[in-house]
Amino acid sequence: MFAYYLDLALRSLRRSPVLTGMMVLAIGLGIGASMTMLTVLHVMTRDPLPELSAQLYYPHLDPLPANYPARSEWGDPSDNFTWPDAMALLEAHRADQQAAMAGGRVLAWPVQAGRMPFRIGGRYATAGFFDLFGLRFEQGRGWTAADDEARARLVVLSHALAMQLFGRTDVVGRTVRLGDARFQVGGVTADWAPQPQFYADASGRGNYGESDRFFLPLATALDLDLSVSGNQASWKEGGKTSGNYTWLQVWVRLKNAAQARAYRQFLIDYSASQQKLGRFERPPANAALYPMMDWLAHQKLVPNDLRLQLWLALGFLVVCLVNIVALLLAKFLRRSGEVSVRRALGARRRDIFLQFGVESALVGSLGGLLGVAIAQAGLWSVRQRPDSYAHVARMDLSMLALTVLLAIAGSLLAGMLPAWRASRVAPALQLKAQ
């Protein structure tokens, strides 16, 4: 029966090719536009590190003075850590894996003489960084807490930077010049580029499309006064190691909810102790522990423009669907005569409903196919855009499936009312009327 209905639908659609084309185009445009926007949003809100994200947490302390202005467009300085607080959290060892870090940019000098140096971004971190985020080493290893202590001139290169500087990756023990200082290469990591760069300062807006090219001990960077990127804020005199200058990020890995509860309590206790010492002025209950995905939501990485575009695309889809309902309704009712005959010949309402349902679904599937093509074109044009997130906008398999599903579901839903109306046509009345 289904094959028969499909044949009927094909015949019906072929009878009015222009109108069929218009309906397919309308669904295709609506689906294409909304899927383009949904895909971009999906890419921007996805989990950057699925294997570890459930265990990663970002602690939050509030060392700001009581009268500090509320969060402004310039960002909340308490999103970052002061040096003393970050070090205190690490020294308490309440988490198995933990690290403090900051982003930075330096000049890297190729080993061949005469080649110009170039600026690269990387991470200054404490020794636990590599274990914490599960980085894989191709050569050598990271550094130890003792190296942190000694402010060792050690660097870990990403695969890409090692290739760029040396043309090879077996470079452990060799020397590389970054800025004005020389570092010994301790290891080379496989390329690692979580998107968004969740562990970085929020002012980077996710740093889509960027990755760290080198890693070196945080204390060493502090020692050499290497330039720090990202939001830095101070509310009293004092440099990077003072208790009123926030510029660091701290991440911890906790295995289960009990550990997370204990850690949250630890943060509150720590804040209370600092309040007693007169350092913190705000209530200890301001301390918090964010699971990774919550932290990303808290940082509002998705620009307002993008949400607006999504609303626009959905509005567009609704208009396209209303359009389809109206056209299908008119088309089906125009065939009332045909329906009457079929009904008079013994077709049940169900059969009529099914027949027109199949025709709607066919239009929907064709529209969905067109929608996929339009969405690909849309994503291509998004990738040409200047926004930093733009060039990661690609459709994965799940989004592709969703697109086709949305198209068919949309047009089935749209075809429901016209098909139902058609199935209500009385058997012989129409014949008489004409």
Partner: protein
């Protein structure tokens, strides 16, 4: 034209007519708001900078290695750049409009204030105002002997206290001292007093993270930069000489110091275009969606119109046989469309207002000005009439003889 017969016909196609009305309403509402958003973006792109945009070029150059003689180095660079034919003025500055990288500080009106009054940007660089072409509206520019070396000031607090004058924009003056002249007033950075010696018409901040309302909150200080603490060379020249001067300047800088990285060399017009590219992209996208929406709606009207005409072929034939002219058949369908469009537009206005309220709530957009409503209405009336014209003409072409034929 009698509309009663039209209404009674429409009553027989209630659902279809309702759907068409709904489609027109949604389109009208979305188009009104989208056009409003497009205009907002276009307005933003026109933001005044207060500098001679078409005459400026910027080269960003990083010196590497020894920085001990950075001051001499910078002076050599500036002298060499001034000798390039066509160069009117040159300055080495800490920041440039539309580059998204800025130095900012809190400003107080009273040193004992707990919270700062506002946050403004700081421009440094000898000869900055003359080079930028920023217009002074009150007071004076800095005297040549007023400039201190940034490099020394940054290290020596006693010397830092000697920076006592500032030039601010008219907007910043009005914000700090509403209704009064800012000239001669004192503002405080940290605890240090600065006297306003000059007021300029406008000078935009390099980045607008603080919101567009704060765009003109800029201060200029008499500080001389060197090649260690500043990297932006700004050159003023005639508009037609910009490309040539830019190339010559890059060559000059590289000749002065081969160990130098030239990061960026661009005209300020290009820098400005880059700065607003998000707005341009958004406006383009909105315009695209608007057009697509109107096209889809027009297709819907054409499609429904065709169906209705085909369905009523016999009735039309009867009317023609009874003496109706082609014109009256044509007008019948046009009036029908006009009626549907009007109901849709009325509904669309309410919806447009609702969408605007939603956007105001969630995206800090201003209220939709009333004149957008008639724009949306006229657009949809026009589209409706154009779209229905084809089917209506086909209806008018139905010969009276159809009435005599059986099915």
């Amino acid at each position: 034209m009698d509309i009663l017969p039209i209404l009674s016909t429409l009553r027989r196609h209630k659902i279809t007519a309702l759907l068409l009305v709904l489609e027109i309403a949604l389109t009208c509402a979305i188009v009104c708001n989208a056009v409003f958003l497009i205009n907002q973006r276009l307005e933003r792109m026109k933001m005044a900078s207060g500098v001679a945009e078409h005459e400026l070029v910027q080269i960003q150059a990083f010196g590497i290695g020894d920085t001990a003689d950075a001051k001499a180095h910078a002076q050599e660079d500036l002298t060499a750049l001034r000798q390039i034919p066509g160069v009117k003025s040159v300055a080495l500055v800490n920041q440039v409009p539309f580059t998204n990288s800025s130095w900012n500080t809190s400003v107080k009106l009273d040193p004992k204030q707990n919270q700062a009054t506002l946050n403004a940007t700081q421009y440094f660089g000898e000869n900055l105002l003359q080079t930028f072409g920023t217009r002074l509206v009150a007071g004076r520019d800095f005297a040549p002997d007023e400039y201190l070396d940034m490099r020394l000031v940054a290290r020596d607090e006693k010397l830092a206290k000697k920076v006592v004058s500032v030039i601010i924009t008219r907007d910043l003056g009005q914000k700090l001292w509403p209704g009064q002249s800012a000239l001669g007033k004192t503002l405080y950075l940290g605890g240090d007093p600065m006297r306003v010696v000059g007021v300029v018409a406008g000078l935009i901040r390099p980045s607008l993270f603080g919101g567009d309302a704060t765009a003109q909150w800029s201060m200029v200080f008499p500080l001389r930069m060197d090649s260690d603490n500043a990297s932006r060379y700004v050159i003023r020249t005639a508009p037609q000489d910009r490309e040539r001067v830019l190339a010559a300047a890059a060559a000059t800088l590289r000749k002065n110091d081969p160990h130098r990285i030239i990061l960026e060399k661009k005209t300020l017009d290009d820098i400005r275009a880059d700065f607003f590219q998000d707005d341009r992209a958004m406006a383009g996208l909105l315009a695209g969606v608007c057009i697509a929406l109107l096209v889809v709606t027009a297709l819907g009207i054409v499609g429904l119109g065709s169906f209705w005409v085909a369905q009523r072929r016999r009735t039309i034939g009867v009317r023609r046989a009874l003496g109706a002219t082609r014109g009256s058949i044509l007008r019948y369908f046009q009036t029908e469309n006009f009626l549907l469009a009007t109901i849709g537009i009325a509904l669309g206005m309410v919806l447009a207002y609702g969408i605007n309220l939603f956007l105001m709530l969630h995206y800090e957009l201003p209220r939709l000005p009333a004149y957008y409503f008639p724009i949306g209405a006229i657009a949809l009336w026009l589209i409706g009439q154009v779209a229905v014209l084809g089917p209506a003409m086909r209806a008018a072409a139905v010969p009276p003889v159809v009435a005599t034929r059986s099915v």
